[in-house]
């Protein structure tokens, strides 16, 4: 991470099909810790949107509160952003989507924001099948308040202060599938090769697309004993592809074949084990997906990739049968019944 972002760019940088260079998709300089996995995710979002040639002003980025929720400042500087209140991004996104069905919605949240204070809103966003991509940057701890366990921290995991987490961790992917998410994926912040296509798929998905991205906290949850540390994740990832971490130390990258498991050593010398899903994985079979997630968990592995998708279900606007014109564009002429109707209404109250 650098503290001054040069405004100079080479004039002949490649542009996408709508004529924007990659820099048009970047945001302000990150103020997150050097090496934070979240910055890698921001980078993946930038790359995905650039490659998809999304018009930045047609994408709305929303977040709650927390380290992860700060990231929308660091990507898509030409998009409208909304940093709402802790855990309540889903309701704000719901309202925004109701108002204008035509924009692209990207919600960014963290494990504290979505799995604790915001769990209620998270599950209802899934239930309503909002047409949005919802990314949880999951590091199993609270960074902004200096390292308390979050609800996704695994049982037995040791936090920075040395305390063992006594409670089961919430698995947001299986939860989202259970609740009817029509697109559920997990990835690793360092695995650009996997994450970028997943983000692109999620943004294209006509319904609620959820990506749980393991994004180790370099400062507060990267210690030995943590199961959300870089090392642990690398060790237990059932083979991710590239791991692209940008800590103060050195960037960890990793590449692995689909269907393999790979152990990755993190900065604190712990390991994670990532299993990259094989290409013969059937992401449309809900039951087998959930079974496999639990099986992997029992082996101490973190399966990554597109776990489940279903394009059959109806998004919120379809369910509500709203008009094709975005509601925020409707004018008085179609909204207000006018005086003649009001006379009849008055008559009905006599």
């Amino acid at each position: 991470m650098t503290y001054v972002k040069p405004s100079f760019r080479h004039p002949k940088l490649p542009v996408n099909k709508i004529g924007f260079a990659r820099r048009e998709y970047e945001g302000a300089i990150s103020t997150l810790c050097a090496g934070c996995g979240h910055d890698s995710i921001s980078g993946a979002i930038v790359q995905a949107c650039f490659e998809m040639a999304i018009e930045p002003h047609r994408l709305a980025k929303l977040s709650g509160i927390g380290c992860s929720s700060k990231t929308p400042t660091y990507f898509l500087g030409n998009s409208h952003g909304f940093n709402s209140v802790h855990g309540r991004m889903p309701s704000v996104a719901t309202g925004a989507i109701l108002a204008n069905k035509d924009l692209i919605y990207l919600g960014v949240s963290g494990d504290g924001d979505s799995a604790s204070i915001g769990m209620g809103q998270f599950v209802h966003a899934i239930r309503r099948n909002l047409n949005m991509l919802y990314i949880v940057m999951n590091n199993g701890c609270y960074g902004l308040t200096k390292g308390q366990d979050s609800a996704t921290a695994d049982e037995g995991s040791i936090n920075k202060s040395g305390a063992e987490n006594m409670f089961q961790g919430i698995d947001l992917v299986s939860l989202s599938i259970e609740l009817g998410a029509t697109f559920a994926a997990r990835s690793f912040s360092g695995d650009k090769h996997q994450l970028i296509p997943l983000i692109k798929a999620g943004l294209s998905h006509p319904g609620f697309a959820f990506i749980d991205v393991i994004s180790p906290c370099v400062t507060f949850n990267n210690n030995v004993g943590s199961t959300k540390s870089y090392d642990y994740t690398r060790e237990h990832m059932e083979a991710t592809s590239a791991i692209d971490l940008v800590p103060v130390k050195t960037e960890i990258t990793n590449s692995q074949e689909e269907g393999t498991t790979q152990q990755i050593q993190l900065h604190d010398e712990s390991y994670i084990q990532i299993h990259k899903l094989a290409s013969n994985w059937d992401p449309t079979d809900k039951l087998s997906t959930i079974t496999k997630i639990f099986e992997a968990k029992s082996r101490g592995e973190i399966p990554t990739g597109l776990m489940y998708f279903n394009t059959e279900s109806k998004d919120l606007h379809t369910v509500l049968n709203t008009t094709d014109t975005p509601l925020n564009l409707l004018q008085k002429e179609v909204l207000c019944p006018g005086n003649a109707k009001l006379s009849g209404i008055n008559a009905s109250f006599r």
């Binding site: 704000v92 207000c336 005086n339």
Partner: protein
């Protein structure tokens, strides 16, 4: 016992069992009085329960047009055995008790100073209707019939009401009309009808309508162009969104495609309900929610965001008795301070105080204009009495020329022609310009956040920048003072030393009190508050009088505090008139409270 003839001035109370279908019969009585051209004011007094507990419906009939509640029951229709002993005691001396004489009344229920009118309601049902399932419902119609004969209601009006009520279930009409006549016949044959206390047809109602405040709010939101409604069910506000949905389904569905020009979401809780409102208004739609006190508590965090990040929101708070769950089905005006200052930090919100359904309609429309003009939350404070009872009021009116005030929103063309800073005070009125997501490919995007930021929406913790922004919000607040509805001031005598201040549903009783005081040669001037922040007239009115009575329905004199806080008024000058038993305030109560305090 007095047998003085009293025309069109009585209180009838129906004592029923919750969930027995009495509501429609009781309502039929009130509506028939209305259709006879006589001012009428019905009140539901109901328990927080679905079925089985005592419920009352009280109807005041007033030749003089007083619509506030009046204490003292002239005629009690006592149908509930559970509350019978208490109901008997409520009847004014010389009044009447109508009861089901199928069974003998217990001896201890007899008072010497009231009249007893026994109608064998269940017996009549058993004699005329084979199915026992009909008995409970038709018994209600029988007592309306008996009452019609006793107080002289035109039978054609009641028959017409039955036909309207069962328009969609026509086969029920003959049985109901028969029950009505059974009641009329029995009462006429066994008692001298009409009673000395009765009705006479008048033309005192004119073109006025009889409607609930919540229904009027829903209609107002329809006319105001609200397209997004989100809410979480809570008594007594639930019927606001029900009404909005009903009106939308009638007037906002494309006849060709069947598609809807609105979206209503029942949220998972109040936090989500207001969150959806902010998301929708941020994205350029008119959105609102309706709730009551506990909901306001939960929504407070988002209300603070609305204030600080300057995002429009309309909230209709139908107040009930607090604190906590309090008495959820009883009325109060006790959310004044909670609404005015909802959320942490230096926060304040525009409030509107409608007093009748016509104003519920008008003020809902105004609320959307103000919310967008000032990019902030506007909270309309109604109450259970206004929201869930029928009120006689002026018909709704709409000016076809009216344009929605969408406030300072920049279009793509505007952005091409000017530079944009989200929180810049360009016009010196404290109100910045905003853009709606998706407006312009390269200009006008900004970050909305609850953290401090500079005039260009860039995050900063610079104390001076923060303070400057907070000061601009005060400037905006001062601008709002000139644009919110001004108080309604009535000067009865320029030399009067006493002024009264009231708002919302206390208005009915407060205005009646002015007449009571006049009878004692006490002249007072009136100021009916319609909004917060307070415009300059408010301070002037207070300065012009030696004693100011602030009439409100809460324990802690919340409105008085608001006046003190905002206008820096000497507390000794502001006297309290406070009723907080959950029942609508009465003129008699205000009169007594004032008389005990007038110097």
């Amino acid at each position: 016992m007095s047998n003085e003839i009293l025309i069109n001035d009585l209180v009838v109370r129906f004592a029923n069992v919750n969930g027995t279908g009495s509501a429609s019969a009781n309502n039929m009585f009130a509506k028939s009085v209305f259709r006879m051209g006589i001012p009428v004011s019905p009140k539901n007094i109901f328990p927080s329960n679905i079925q089985g507990l005592p419920t009352w419906y009280e109807v005041r009939v007033s030749e003089k047009g007083y619509l506030g509640r009046r204490e003292g029951v002239d005629i009690m229709v006592a149908i509930n055995a559970q509350s019978m002993a208490k109901d008997v005691q409520e009847v004014k001396s010389g009044g009447y008790l109508i009861y089901d004489s199928t069974k003998l009344l217990a001896e201890e229920l007899f008072r010497e100073d009231i009249h007893y009118i026994g109608i064998p309601m269940i017996q009549l049902c058993m004699d005329h209707y084979p199915e026992s399932s009909q008995h409970m419902l038709l018994k209600n119609v029988i007592y309306v019939g008996a009452l019609a004969a006793l107080v002289n209601i035109e039978v054609e009006i009641l028959e017409q009401l039955i036909k309207e009520q069962f328009k969609k279930k026509e086969k029920l009409i003959p049985g109901n009309i028969q029950a009505l006549h059974l009641g009329i016949k029995y009462a006429s044959e066994h008692f001298v009808c009409p009673l000395p206390l009765h009705l006479e047809k008048r033309d005192l109602v004119g073109d006025r309508i009889l409607v609930e405040g919540n229904n009027a709010c829903g209609l107002g939101a329809l006319f105001a162009g609200a397209t997004v409604g989100s809410w979480y069910p809570i008594t007594p506000s639930t019927s606001v969104m029900n009404a909005f949905e009903k009106w939308c389904n009638k007037y906002r569905v494309d006849p060709d495609t069947g598609k809807k020009n609105f979206a209503i979401v029942q949220a998972e809780d109040e936090l989500a309900a207001i969150g959806m409102v902010l998301g929708a208004t941020w994205n350029g739609a008119r959105a609102f929610t309706a709730t009551s006190g506990p909901g306001v508590s939960l929504m407070s965090e988002f209300l603070g965001l609305s204030y600080f990040a300057e995002i429009p929101a309309v909230l209709i708070d139908v107040q009930r008795s607090g604190p906590s769950t309090g008495m959820p089905t009883r009325t109060q005006q006790s959310d004044v301070l909670a609404a005015a200052f909802a959320s942490h930090g230096d926060t304040k919100h525009i409030l509107l105080f409608p007093a009748n359904p016509t104003e519920c309609f008008d003020f809902t429309v105004i609320a959307f204009d103000l919310a967008e003009r000032f990019q902030t939350a506007v909270i309309m404070l109604t109450d259970l009495d206004l929201g869930m009872n029928d009120h006689l009021c002026k018909p709704f009116a709409w000016d076809e020329e009216k344009k929605y005030d969408r406030g300072k929103v920049l279009s793509a063309k505007d952005l091409d022609e000017m530079s944009f800073g989200r929180y810049l005070d360009v016009d010196g009125d404290g109100i910045p310009y905003r853009t709606i997501p998706g407006t312009h490919p390269t200009k006008g995007s900004f970050f909305t956040r609850g953290s401090s930021r500079d005039e260009y929406a860039k995050y900063t913790e610079d104390g001076d920048v923060y303070a400057k922004n907070m000061d601009r919000l005060v400037k905006k607040w001062n601008t709002a003072k000139t644009q919110v509805p001004a108080p309604e001031i009535t000067i009865h005598n320029p030399n009067a030393k006493i002024g009264i201040i009231y708002f919302g549903t206390s208005s009915y009783a407060a205005q009646e009190t002015v007449d009571l005081l006049k009878e004692k040669n006490i002249l007072v001037n009136e100021m009916r508050m319609l909004s917060f922040p307070f415009s300059n007239e408010v301070k002037q009115f207070i300065d012009q009088h030696e004693q100011i009575f602030v009439i409100e329905q809460n324990r802690d004199a919340q409105f008085r505090s608001l006046l003190m806080i905002e206008l820096d008024i000497n507390p000794n000058k502001l006297l309290k008139v406070l009723q907080y038993n959950g029942m609508p305030i009465t003129a008699a109560f205000i009169y007594q409270s004032m008389m005990s305090q007038i110097k």
